[in-house]
């Protein structure tokens, strides 16, 4: 058993100067075990930061994956935050993916569903890196074989020359910073990475998508007792 992608859309939602957004980027199937939302908040440094952020899938509210939140960090031009939200047992179908917060802000948002994952602890080993001012954003996630590692990188202002592993999204059309996200099959200490055109700064939030931990059924015997048909 291993984790795999259930539904994904590489076209990210881009929002500018709003306190809410909603969209319908994916259709979750009956096989899905969890959804993971990646949010990249990026705006002018002086803009008042959003608070009381609520991310939802249909009627379900997602929670921040513990550790997978960089908080707001100022790069050369913008204030950026990369954060992951997750939820087990997502509602099936093309539900509304939405976010709301105080104080108008800009950024990117997307959601992916997984199958074969654990439904008690779907995400773990959350990590956040930044602000780092080089051209090679990278984050290491403890993600064993059978799991997946996924992350979102908030790029302050540089071009995104390449996205490593499998691209979740790659977009530079927002009014402020640029953004990419990616995922890959777990391999122990698993690296997610990209390549930028400059060193204005980046932040990276990532986590492990854990394979199902359910114990498979094993027939048991009772010593000294043999059940017979008659």
């Amino acid at each position: 058993m291993s984790v795999s992608v259930d539904a994904v859309n590489t076209a990210v939602i881009v929002f500018n100067s709003v306190t809410s957004f909603s969209g319908t980027p994916i259709t979750v199937t009956a096989a899905a075990t969890s959804v993971l939302a990646g949010i990249d908040f990026t705006d002018a440094t002086a803009t008042t930061k959003p608070t009381s952020v609520v991310i939802t899938w249909g009627a379900q509210t997602l929670s921040i994956v513990l550790g997978a939140d960089t908080g707001f960090l100022n790069g050369a031009s913008h204030s950026n935050r990369a954060v992951l939200y997750g939820k087990e047992l997502p509602t099936i179908g093309a539900q509304t993916f939405a976010g709301a917060w105080t104080n108008a802000y800009s950024g990117y948002a997307n959601i992916v569903s997984w199958k074969g994952g654990d439904t008690t602890t779907p995400f773990k080993n959350g990590t956040a890196t930044g602000l780092v001012s080089d051209t090679a954003p990278t984050v290491s996630v403890t993600s064993p074989a059978g799991d997946f590692a996924a992350g979102v990188c908030a790029v302050d202002s540089d071009s995104i020359n390449a996205v490593g592993q499998t691209t979740w999204w790659n977009n530079a059309t927002g009014s402020f910073g640029n953004s990419f996200a990616n995922y890959t099959a777990g391999a122990g200490a698993t690296t997610l990475s990209g390549t930028l055109g400059g060193g204005a700064g980046w932040t990276y939030a990532a986590c492990d998508v854990q394979v199902s931990q359910a114990t498979p059924f094993v027939p048991s015997t009772i010593a000294g007792y043999v059940e017979n048909e008659w």
Partner: protein, 124 residues
């Protein structure tokens, strides 16, 4: 008329919009992959304090059936900031049904009070 890519398909006449207005149902080029809805916020300062909400609907059957694709908005006025486009709020969303010649969109802007604005949808 089928709208081609990278074209502002409709713009509400700039002026005072009293409560709500819309971009009427418009046929979309089958090749279009995303839509950007943008509205001018310079007429909505903190002093005017108008809430604004846009909603984009999509139809895959020439306007017979509609579903809401995306929304975005703000619950009060703006302290206009910096950045490359401080005068507009916007949302970009992938447009499903690529290749479908019967695809249409429509856009609504709902305001809590009158304000001067321009609503634009851009396809690409």
């Amino acid at each position: 008329m089928v709208n081609t890519s990278l074209t502002a398909i409709a713009t509400i006449t700039t002026g005072v919009i009293t409560s709500s207005s819309s971009i009427p149902a418009t046929l979309v080029d089958p090749a279009v992959t995303q839509v950007k809805v943008m509205w001018d916020i310079t007429g909505n300062t903190s002093a005017s304090n108008v809430s604004s909400q846009v909603r984009l609907d999509v139809s895959q059957d020439n306007g017979v059936n509609w579903t809401t694709l995306c929304t975005a908005g703000r619950n009060k006025g703006y302290d206009l900031g910096g950045g490359p486009d401080p005068n507009n709020a916007s949302i970009v969303h992938p447009l499903p049904g690529v290749g479908n010649p019967q695809r249409m969109i429509r856009v609504f802007l709902i305001l809590s009070a009158a304000m001067t604005t321009t609503l634009t949808a851009i396809l690409s």
